[in-house]
Symmetry: C2
Subunit: 286 residues, 2 copies
DNA sequence: ATGCCTTACGTTATACGTAATTATT
DNA sequence: AATAATTACGTATAACGTAAGGCAT
């Protein structure tokens, strides 16, 4: 058998062309590499190089060997990555959501239910979520509507309700206690964080005459909110998670249309690791 | 990077189930193997085993790793074989022939033309010869007829003529000086070595009423020749190569039909290594 | 009691780097 | 002179085996 470091040495020589350059790259001395090449020929019992007194290069057999060696090195790297990835997948619960709201609160919940697990979360569109659930990229996905798929559990998770945030001197403040409808606020210009998943579709439908200015950075958004008289959005969930409440310059008004409240659903493959989470959903929904 | 011997150790443990058995198989001590498994986990930074105080077994990640390790080991074995095979093919001239006659004399010729090369010869049917020439299994093939194939050289090699060998008291001895025809000898029973390539087809056609007893072993054939009154065959080539001449109990008679003489042709891809052989053929045919 | 794994320890073997040598441009 | 490869030599690392210990069947 040939040890991997010999194959690496051969591949490096193939790549760099001289022993000195390859040795430099491998962080070993020239003589060490020279010996390794010799040992390779001994083990294979085959001549791999054409040598003159002060030069050495691969012959046809050597080129073949170097290419095959590179293949093996690539295989081994893939193996290492696969094993590490598989191991980490055993210690990770991956969650994808159609909106940022649910994944604002779920990590702390999951950390309590699974103290030894890593939790990863991201927002994605429905198509990618469903595909990711199928191919194990996500253990749990969160959609804004229920869905019946064979062998997939679907349980209600939580609701999220949309609020409009207005400057405290804005005319809309008269709705402060009654709440507003989408119709009341349509036609304004809104500030909003860049991507809010399913809310984007709801707003596009319910606020057809409004303009939405997207801001990718939360800090900039907050600064703009304070500096301008533009409207913006919040949800009950975001209010719980982000310390933006108690801003004396802004008033939060709930939107009372039914479309402003979304019921989210968790979908997951039947997997005994997820039983604690399923139990939690079932009990918390009673 | 992970050295091959660690992968071998893992694969052996996967195969044998206990460290002791695997260590035995690897010809190392149990403790050494135990340490190797630990190092593997360190390098991968992943847990591969479930351990109790006196037992150890692969977990799911370990099984995956062991299977991938086996793949790499197989790749490396294939690589070694391919490199060795390629090297040997550079130092070998492989010849296939439709009849045994030509390859009785060609090795000594090739050894003279190519003193540093190995020469391998075998008899095969035309279909396999042509396929083998195409896929480089043969450098040279010898057929009983010329053939025009693009990029393939086709040159006459030598002729071979069939003789019948009869007991010295056989009635056919009257043809001793004139030669016989196939018709003269048809209807007899013949002894023959098991496979003689193209001669089999010629005999089947020209001696439709004869029976041929095949003997796979040359020694047995010679013994039977002496002990029985059966006829047998020889050719001018076999007579030059095998010391069966001067047997006082047998008489050799040439067969005079044109079908009893075959002109052989060498076919080979254009390859500069074969130039000396081509030159030899061209000059010896003048 | 036997089999299996791990830890500890001393040794050996293998692979390395430095230095010197030779050859080429 | 500078660059490149090989050879020779002493050293250091790392892998091994033996021995000892603990635990389960």
């Amino acid at each position: 058998m040939i040890e991997i470091h010999l194959l690496e040495a051969l591949a490096a020589f193939y790549q760099f062309g001289t022993l000195s350059a390859a040795a430099m790259h491998l962080h070993i001395s020239q003589p060490a590499l020279s010996r390794s090449m010799k040992r390779l020929e001994e083990i294979l019992n085959v001549s791999l190089f054409t040598r003159t007194k002060n030069s050495i290069s691969l012959n046809d057999t050597g080129i073949l060997a170097a290419q095959l060696a590179q293949d093996i090195l690539n295989s081994e790297n893939r193996m290492i990555q696969m094993v590490r990835y598989y191991d980490s997948s055993l210690h990770t619960i991956s969650i994808g959501s159609e909106a940022p709201g649910p994944i604002m609160e779920i990590p702390s919940l999951m950390t309590q239910l699974y103290p030894d697990m890593s939790i990863t979360c991201e927002t994605e569109n429905e198509e990618n979520l469903l595909q990711g659930l199928e191919n194990q990229k996500y253990n749990i996905i969160i959609l804004s509507h229920p869905m019946d798929i064979p062998n997939i559990e679907c349980l209600p998770y939580s609701t999220e309700s949309l609020y409009v945030s207005i400057p405290s001197d804005h005319p809309l403040k008269k709705f402060k206690d009654t709440g507003v409808t989408f119709e009341d606020i349509d036609g304004n210009t809104f500030l909003q964080i860049s991507y809010v998943g399913v809310w984007d579709e709801i707003k596009k439908k319910m606020l057809p005459n409004s303009k939405i200015l997207r801001q990718s950075d939360r800090e900039s958004l907050n600064a703009l909110e304070n500096a301008s008289s533009l409207l913006s959005f919040a949800t009950d969930v975001s209010l719980r998670s982000i310390r933006e409440r108690n801003n004396p310059n802004r008033i939060l008004i709930p939107i009372i249309d039914p479309e402003a409240t979304v019921q989210f659903y968790c979908l997951m493959k039947k997997d005994k690791r997820l039983n604690p989470f399923i139990q939690y959903l079932q009990t918390s929904n009673k």
